[in-house]
């Protein structure tokens, strides 16, 4: 079970003076049960790539296969395959539309042809995942909520469709640290329970390092790097820099400490790892 991106290319506004190649021979596989982060600066092709993964765009060359089914085919199988890929766009709270939170989250499952009792079950379980208490929130208007809560409702709407693959385009943009941590905590929980394939598009190396087991780095419409986070942050520093992609703050701090003579081992990609590495280097025993 996987999404297989098979050497796809895509160009916007072909045959005009504004022609722009957005994807150039991009190839990788996202397995179900894998948590992958996609990074790269604005205009590198990340969002165009994401739009190919549930058939919003079809490649001009190459194929996208979901569990072996070509998304560009005009068959019931292709439609069903698109349905298994959930997409959370940037600022998804802008897409809330219904009068109650229940109705908003129910929209997707209802469109999938679920019966009313099944819809309610899906809504309840999605709300539980994003920590919105059903009895308290279901009948309230989504527009009366805080920004972080609105975003959780929007994510619940996608989760309620029980996708096998979840594509998220910068789910933490504009949120404060506490809302961000809560959204990622919930995402982690959903991921662990349902073992979906997750593709997280982010500008935050901290998020990428903490949650994803594998990083994809895009630049100039091409997939430039693909590998485990720690490996890239250890061995591909120069290439990341050339692509103007940052490394996590903890990696930089570890490097500065090492330059000042503290023998930090390895590449601590999170704060917790850095603290352990400092303890070890100083011969301190963490309590």
């Amino acid at each position: 079970m996987s999404i297989q991106v098979d050497h796809i290319s895509y160009t916007y506004m072909t045959h005009t003076s504004l022609e722009k190649k957005a994807l150039d021979d991009v190839a990788f596989t996202l397995e179900k049960g894998e948590f992958v982060a996609l990074i790269g600066h604005t205009g590198s092709g990340k969002s165009t790539l994401a739009e190919h993964l549930n058939g919003l765009l079809h490649p001009m060359a190459g194929k996208v296969l979901v569990d072996g089914v070509d998304l560009a085919a005009k068959t019931p199988e292709a439609k069903a395959a698109r349905n298994r890929v959930g997409m959370v766009f940037q600022y998804p709270e802008h897409q809330l539309f219904a009068e109650t939170i229940y109705e908003d989250i129910a929209f997707g499952p209802r469109n999938q042809g679920k019966t009313e009792p099944e819809v309610e079950e899906a809504v309840r379980s999605a709300m539980e995942f994003v920590d919105l208490e059903f009895d308290n929130f279901a009948q309230r208007s989504p527009f009366q909520l805080s920004g972080g809560q609105m975003r959780r409702v929007a994510i619940a709407g996608v989760v309620a469709m029980e996708p096998d693959y979840l594509i998220m385009d910068e789910p933490s943009a504009g949120l404060d640290p506490i809302s961000r941590d809560s959204i990622f905590g919930q995402l982690r929980k959903i991921f662990e329970k349902r073992k979906m394939g997750v593709l997280l598009i982010t500008h935050s190396m901290e998020e990428a390092a903490q949650y994803a087991s594998r990083l994809l780095v895009m630049s100039d419409s091409r997939l430039q790097l693909d590998g485990p986070a720690r490996e890239l942050f250890t061995h591909e520093r120069e290439k990341l820099e050339a692509l103007s992609v940052d490394v996590p703050e903890s990696v930089k701090l570890a490097e500065e400490l090492r330059q000042q003579g503290l023998p930090i081992e390895g590449t601590p990609i999170t704060k917790a790892e850095l603290i352990r590495a400092i303890d070890k280097a100083k011969g301190w025993k963490a309590c």
């Binding site: 404060d176 640290p177 903890s250 850095l274």
Partner: protein
């Protein structure tokens, strides 16, 4: 020196969709000196943006006062002067750009306030030069990167020659490269042109650059001080739903293990504390 912005017991209430009276700001007493760089931090809904909107009269206090350059923003005749004193830059550059050519966009505000034609071009050029965008004067804004668009938006405000600019999360929608461009632009405006900066952000690595940090919670100012005074209170900041710079958080964790360290908020300070031989 007279403060450029001063609030006295400023309170702002509004009526929400369910007809309930909500208090967005409660008894804010604040004074910002000319040339100062002040960062305002706080979670979503803590009142940061509501407060900032008082600084150029987009909102006026329900009770208490907000004075800009000594002028009360609640008095309508003062608003022109208030808005020429304090400019605003918002989160989304796309919402702030009105024209199809960069230099026309920057000229828009000048035309609006009736600046004579011959004066417009030099002021537009000066503003674009200050944000390093002069080479893009004839370009179409929608084809620029996020950081470039935001710099055009800043130039549009700068051309009006305000004494103070309020930035409301100007980097929230930008990638790391765009973020760096904006941060260095803001620092340059403050250090070289001596423009007073009020900078709202969730990003602690940006707040740390300010002279003074104000932390808000539920419509009140709950913490205030230099970056070092504020960010060494790691548990307090966490309690507000925010975070501290990495070096401060690491130092705090080591401190809790029983290792005495001096106050630390930067990489350099952590290096010095942990590697005393150098």
């Amino acid at each position: 020196m007279e403060p450029i912005i001063e609030t006295k017991n400023l309170t702002h209430t509004y009526v929400d969709g369910q007809n309930q009276e909500m208090t967005a700001l409660q008894g804010i007493d604040l004074s910002i000196a000319p040339g100062e760089f002040v960062a305002i931090i706080g979670t979503n809904g803590s009142g940061k943006s509501t407060l900032a909107r008082h600084f150029n009269g987009l909102l006026t206090p329900t009770s208490g006062h907000c004075l800009v350059g000594g002028l009360d923003t609640a008095i309508e005749e003062n608003l022109w002067t208030v808005r020429q004193t304090v400019g605003m830059v918002f989160q989304n550059p796309d919402n702030q750009i009105v024209a199809a050519i960069v230099e026309e966009d920057v000229a828009f505000g000048l035309e609006n306030i009736g600046v004579p034609g011959p004066e417009i071009r030099p002021r537009v050029e000066k503003a674009l030069a200050a944000v390093d965008m002069l080479d893009y004067a004839k370009r179409a804004p929608h084809r620029l990167s996020g950081g470039q668009k935001q710099r055009v938006a800043i130039a549009g405000v700068l051309a009006l020659e305000p004494r103070c600019i309020v930035f409301d999360e100007p980097t929230a929608m930008l990638d790391p490269r765009g973020r760096k461009e904006i941060v260095s632009t803001v620092l340059k405006l403050n250090k070289e042109k001596h423009i007073t900066i009020v900078y709202i952000t969730h990003k602690m690595e940006e707040a740390i650059l300010a002279d003074r940090i104000i932390a808000m919670e539920k419509g009140r100012i709950v913490l205030e001080g230099t970056p070092k005074e504020v960010f060494t209170q790691v548990d307090r900041i966490r309690g507000l739903g925010l975070e501290c710079p990495l070096a401060a958080e690491v130092a705090n964790a080591l401190d809790k293990q029983g290792h005495q360290l001096p106050p630390i908020i930067t990489h350099k300070e952590l290096c010095e504390a942990l590697c005393p031989s150098k």
